[in-house]
């Protein structure tokens, strides 16, 4: 009896031990799988959250493209009302004109030397230094790191932008040469192009958007749309101080800068201005470069979509097109978080 009983006990222990081993192995396996699945679920949730923000961003871009008054952008456009009603529940949508300011990568030094905008610079040599630095170090998106020491505190974020096309009529000739070389990788071609730009400046001629393709020649596809002949700032969104200073810039031949500034600010605050209305209010001769600085279109927008802790920040560029063609927008920068 005793020996049989102990044998039966051993068998039970063996089975029990086997079962425990199985259970431990299974539990270990389940833990590993659960860990992997949790990671996958977390990753999936973050991806879905990002995609929802990007979809909302695409909706805003579609609203910009569907503007019923494509010839001008202003706070009275439908998009401003529609972004207050996002299709993504709980989302907050922001829209901001980021191009209606001076771009230190392209700005001519005479704009600083011959207007009161020079007070934004630190010292009398800062305009020369700005020009030289672009030659030495190239252009930069990080304005503060590249040019912060040349400008008065808080001037860069208030009056300047890194998002703005290089209008051939308002961009520094050496910056145009560098930009040509950068885009085409053709240093000799850049010298020839520079000579053509100098020719325009000496003859005091302006390049119109109609003559742009001929002027850029075979390199048009490489240079456009970064180089173009479109007015760079939208009077509906630009800084009032910059507007007044540009109108007062004597080389731009605005007959009564103060009256023009007051009229423009009044009119732009009330309704959307068209290009012809703008010219009427400024009153400068047709060949004045003021119409290369001031316009009624926004070229770069920042779209921000936030929901909870997630956010998407997108910069979209409007590509200039010939009259009658539908608007074209391209995303040039996108950041999502987390």
């Amino acid at each position: 009896m005793t020996s049989r009983a102990s044998q039966e006990g051993s068998a039970s222990l063996l089975v029990l031990a086997g079962l425990l081993l199985c259970a431990a192995a299974a539990a270990g396996g389940v833990l590993v799988i659960e860990f992997a699945l949790a990671g996958e679920r977390r990753s999936g949730r973050a991806y879905e959250a990002r995609m929802a923000l990007i979809k909302e961003t695409a909706r805003v871009i579609a609203l910009l493209a569907d503007d019923e008054t494509p010839e001008a952008d202003s706070p009275s456009d439908e998009v401003w009302r529609r972004i207050k009603e996002p299709s993504l529940e709980g989302a907050e949508v922001g829209l901001e004109d980021v191009s209606s300011a001076l771009n230190p990568n392209w700005a001519q030094k005479s704009v600083f030397e011959k207007t009161e905008l020079k007070s934004l610079l630190k010292g009398n040599d800062a305009a020369d230094e700005l020009q030289q630095r672009r030659e030495d170090k190239g252009f930069s998106m990080d304005l503060d790191a590249a040019y912060g020491d040349l400008f008065e505190e808080s001037a860069l974020p208030t009056y300047f932008t890194a998002y703005g096309y290089a209008n051939i009529n308002t961009t520094d000739e050496f910056a145009l040469r560098s930009l040509y070389a950068l885009r085409t990788q053709d240093a000799a071609g850049a010298e020839i192009f520079h000579a053509k730009v100098q020719g325009l400046l000496q003859e005091k001629r302006m390049l119109t958007r109609e003559r742009l393709r001929d002027f850029l020649g075979t390199e048009y596809d490489e240079l456009f749309p970064v180089m173009n002949a479109e007015p760079i700032m939208n009077v509906h969104f630009m800084n009032h101080r910059v507007l007044r200073e540009l109108l007062a810039y004597s080389e731009l031949k605005v007959p009564d800068p103060d009256a023009a500034a007051a009229a423009l600010l009044d009119a732009a605050g009330e309704a959307e201005l068209g290009e012809e209305e703008l010219k009427g209010l400024i009153g400068a001769p047709e060949e004045s470069r003021i119409y290369q600085y001031l316009g009624v279109n926004t070229w770069f927008w920042r779209i921000t979509v936030r929901r909870g802790t997630a956010s998407a920040r997108t910069i979209v560029a409007r590509v200039p097109v010939d009259g009658g063609e539908p608007r074209k927008y391209m995303i040039v920068e996108q950041r999502t978080s987390p």
Partner: protein, 174 residues
Amino acid sequence: MPRARPSSSRANEQGFTLIEVIVGMAILSILGAGAWTGLSAALRATEKTRSAAKESATLIQLDDRFRSAAARVRPPWWDTTLDMTNSSGTWQVPYLDGEKERTLAIAFHDGTVRIDDGAYASEHAPFASARVEAMRDAKGTVFGLELRLKDERGRDVSMTARLGGFPLRGSEAP
């Protein structure tokens, strides 16, 4: 002298016959073999699942890291010249966080993919091979990165990630 004990009934009660022992051992052997086979199969299955889950977790982590690192590469909207360099299995991509001098480094050495943004380096293993390629649009502008991997079982895995900056070229919207 005490009498010898009768053997028949006592033997049945206190011991086993040889046949009983053999049959018992045979049954135990069959049960043991069955249990061992079952246990072994269960352990193998668990190990296989665990290994697959680990591989999957490694790929998910690498994919997350690769995408988030690539999204931090932001060439300026005017510069279409972005190109990466490859030196001895290390690919360097400029314009990390928009700065030309800062680079994102993706390296493959000794079965390990290493993604280094200068502040933090993550390692992902094991892989048999890995290489990084630039994704270009029809005009040749780089808009993303592709990480091509071969796992230890020789299977191909491809991961793609868009950059955070997209330079403008031409008038055709993508």
